[in-house]
């Protein structure tokens, strides 16, 4: 187990190097840099522009030199300062990561919390009305574009007033709230974006859960369990579920990656202060240190998700050994 974790951690390093290097290449390939937009301002002299570019090593087109400047900084623990905000990128990213994680976890809870019971129910009641209804709904969930769904939910919130139309928490009363009230307020703000983000995943996992469960229930060992006189509940939960859920655990790792990508749009529409919006803005104005740090963080979160899935899989399935 220890060697497994060590090996996996070591495997992250080349991945992050590759990802950041590609990002650096693409950033250089795109026309202009952060200071190009500033050059139009009258207070900016060509000399000053030259100075700034040299200071931030933007004065060379050589990918390797630029990348080395960045990498040597990172190796000493310095991810640099955001051009736009003029503060260290960590101070910008820290909160954003937590917010994105919060949204992802909320969506994860909603999608898996609904998908697994519904999938089991559909499998056990295969071809019944419940199954058909769930199947139809899952197609709707699978097909509804997150842009459209998010906007519909904002519209719903605005028309009914039942939920806030966006943001992480209440802007006015936040500072006067007790910790408990703050918690409730964040959950209240989280509900709609997490639902939107969770729905598409839910539909997919439900279909998968149903298929795996039907497959598992036709296995010989389920017949053995029934032949022992075990109740349907015991057969389902002790004998079938553990086997059926294995393929979904791998999906769980991927779902994290999906959520990070999918969160983009949802964060955008719900004005959720997460990584997505920060990265888009940084990309558009070419705030390079911020873009690079965002990409590193997103990649790390992704790998962490996959790692978590591997560990869970080993915990559930005795045939898998982590070595």
């Amino acid at each position: 187990m220890k060697t497994f974790l060590l090996r996996r951690f070591l495997a992250i390093v080349p991945l992050i190097l590759a990802v950041t290097f590609i990002t650096q290449v693409l950033l250089i390939a795109s026309p202009g840099d952060y200071f190009s937009t500033l050059s139009e301002s009258p207070s900016m002299t060509p000399e000053r522009l030259e100075f700034l570019r040299a200071k931030y090593h933007l004065d060379t087109e050589n990918v390797f030199i630029r990348y080395w400047y960045w990498l040597s900084g990172v190796l000493t623990g310095d991810f640099g300062y955001s051009f736009k905000y003029q503060t260290s990128v960590w101070s910008l990213i820290g909160d954003r990561i937590l917010n994105t994680l919060l949204l992802a976890v909320g969506a994860l809870l909603i999608s898996w919390g609904l998908a697994i019971p519904l999938g089991i129910l559909s499998a056990v009641k295969k071809d019944s009305i419940v199954d058909r209804l769930a199947g139809g709904l899952s197609f709707v969930g699978l097909s509804i574009p997150s842009v459209f769904f998010s906007l519909l939910m904002v519209l719903f919130a605005a028309k009914t007033g039942l939920f806030p139309v966006g943001g992480l928490h209440d802007q006015v009363y936040w500072d006067f709230m007790t910790p408990w009230q703050k918690f409730v307020d964040v959950i209240w703000h989280l509900f709609l974006p997490a639902t939107v983000l969770g729905t598409i995943g839910m539909a997919q996992y439900m279909r998968q859960m149903r298929a795996e469960m039907i497959e598992t229930l036709s296995q010989d060992y389920i017949r053995t369990a029934k032949a022992k006189g075990l109740s349907l509940r015991t057969v389902l939960f002790r004998h079938a579920l553990g086997n059926a859920i294995n393929p979904l655990i791998t999906l769980f790792g991927f779902s994290f990656a999906y959520l990070l990508s999918g969160a983009f749009i949802t964060e955008f529409v719900f004005a959720w202060p997460g990584m997505g919006r920060l990265t888009v803005d940084a990309l558009i104005i070419k705030d390079e240190p911020l873009v690079m740090a965002s990409i590193v963080m997103v990649t790390v979160m992704l790998v962490a998700g996959n790692l978590l899935a591997d560990i869970l899989l080993a915990a559930v399935d005795p045939r898998i050994r982590l070595e």
Binding site: S143, F148, A257, V291, L302
Partner: protein, 383 residues
């Protein structure tokens, strides 16, 4: 003791059921069997016809839409949809007649409230004259499927902030949003099949290198990669360039998963007798890959391609919605939704969400059709 084909061994799983009408074996090609199975799936067939309809609407967008996608009317910003109670069949005298609309008056400039001006009726005409266009990008025409006479304007699904007809923009936008899926899938499937075929067949260092590349692409959160890629092309580009770039970027991400699966299939197929026989006959490797191996992966590829069309449609929508895809005044289903980011527009003029319904329908139809295709291509399903 002879064992027999009509085995009903191990009945509890239901799979060992009598296979029944073994006499009804007619020689059909795999494609005929696939089609026969698909034809019996009514939901999938409905989805297929919906797709045919949507794509036909996009192809004939300039004929079907009453206006051009960029025909503005500053005096009719956010005109409400005529379909919501503004089409009449009974006039003031109580006589039934052909459907007509009244002209509209801006009753409240700030809230964009329009009242009906009952002084004149404008019947909805079939095959009305309108702006010039080229049918199928070729035949010059002025006739549109329907329309109303000037100075009135028809807004079946309502108008946007510039007074453009949303229905017309949806139809034109469909050309971009729907074709992205088809073109994108064609590109990425070709790349995926070629790369997967080469990696699987040649193995060794080629395989290793290509598969690491595939893993790298799959390991990245796709929308981040798409955005970084998009930004590397800069901002100032013509709409055609942008359209091509969007497709290229989405295909660049999309080929990886196809390549990986094709490689797996090739690995198993290349050990089969007929491939070894082709080798023994002295055919070149490339010939064997192209002629013998890839065709065997075809039914799988078609199913996968169908099921991944939504990725391209949604990718374009996301990029255009975020403002880095198709640019105004060009219409796409994604950039039409951009206006809805304004909360007041969204709540007061909710009809601007209509393109979302079309995205949903198209994605749903592709998903359902792809699912039906997968069931039909699966030799395990009997019906």
């Amino acid at each position: 003791m002879p064992s027999n084909a009509t085995s009903i061994e191990s009945p509890p799983d239901g799979s060992g059921m009598p296979s029944g009408s073994a006499s009804a074996v007619v020689n059909r090609t795999p494609w005929q069997i696939l089609w026969l199975k698909l034809e019996r799936n009514r939901v999938a067939m409905a989805a297929m016809w919906l797709l045919v309809l949507l794509y036909a609407l996009a192809v004939f967008a300039d004929f079907i839409s009453p206006y051009s996608y960029d025909a503005q009317d500053a005096k009719r910003s956010f005109h409400p949809p005529h379909l919501l109670g503004r089409i009449h069949v009974v006039d003031e005298q109580g006589n039934w007649g052909r459907p007509f609309v009244y002209g509209s008056k801006l009753a409240n400039v700030y809230d964009k409230e329009y009242s009906e001006d009952r002084s004149a009726k404008y019947p909805i005409r079939l095959l009305a004259e309108g702006s010039e266009y080229r049918l199928l990008w070729f035949i010059p025409m002025k006739t549109h499927l329907f329309g109303v006479d000037e100075p009135a304007r028809l807004y079946l699904f309502g108008g946007d902030q510039f007074g453009r007809d949303i229905l017309s923009r949806i139809l034109y936008g469909g050309r971009i949003s729907l074709s992205v899926g088809i073109v994108g899938i064609a590109i990425s499937t070709s790349i995926g099949m070629l790369v997967g075929g080469i990696a699987g067949y040649f193995g060794g260092a080629v395989d290793f290198g290509l598969m690491r590349l595939v893993e790298l692409i799959l390991a990245l959160p796709s929308l981040y990669l798409i955005l970084v890629l998009r930004q590397s092309f800069g901002a100032n580009m013509s709409s055609t360039q942008l359209y091509l770039i969007i497709i290229l970027i989405l295909s660049f991400i999309g080929w990886a998963s196809i390549a990986r699966v094709i490689r797996g299939m090739v690995l198993s197929i290349k050990e089969q007798e007929y491939v070894i026989a082709a080798q023994a006959l002295g055919f070149s490797r490339m010939w064997i890959v192209l002629r013998h191996i890839l065709p065997n992966t075809l039914s799988f590829v078609i199913v996968t391609a169908t099921l991944s069309v939504p990725f391209y449609i949604l990718g374009e929508v996301a990029l255009s919605f975020l403002g880095v895809g198709v640019q105004e005044p060009e219409a796409s289903w994604g950039n039409m939704l951009q206006a809805a980011q304004n909360l007041r527009y969204l709540t007061d003029y909710s009809w601007i969400l209509t393109p979302g319904v079309f995205i949903f329908l198209a994605v749903m139809a592709w998903n359902v059709f792809g699912d039906g295709l997968r069931d039909a291509a699966d030799p395990r399903t009997e019906r």
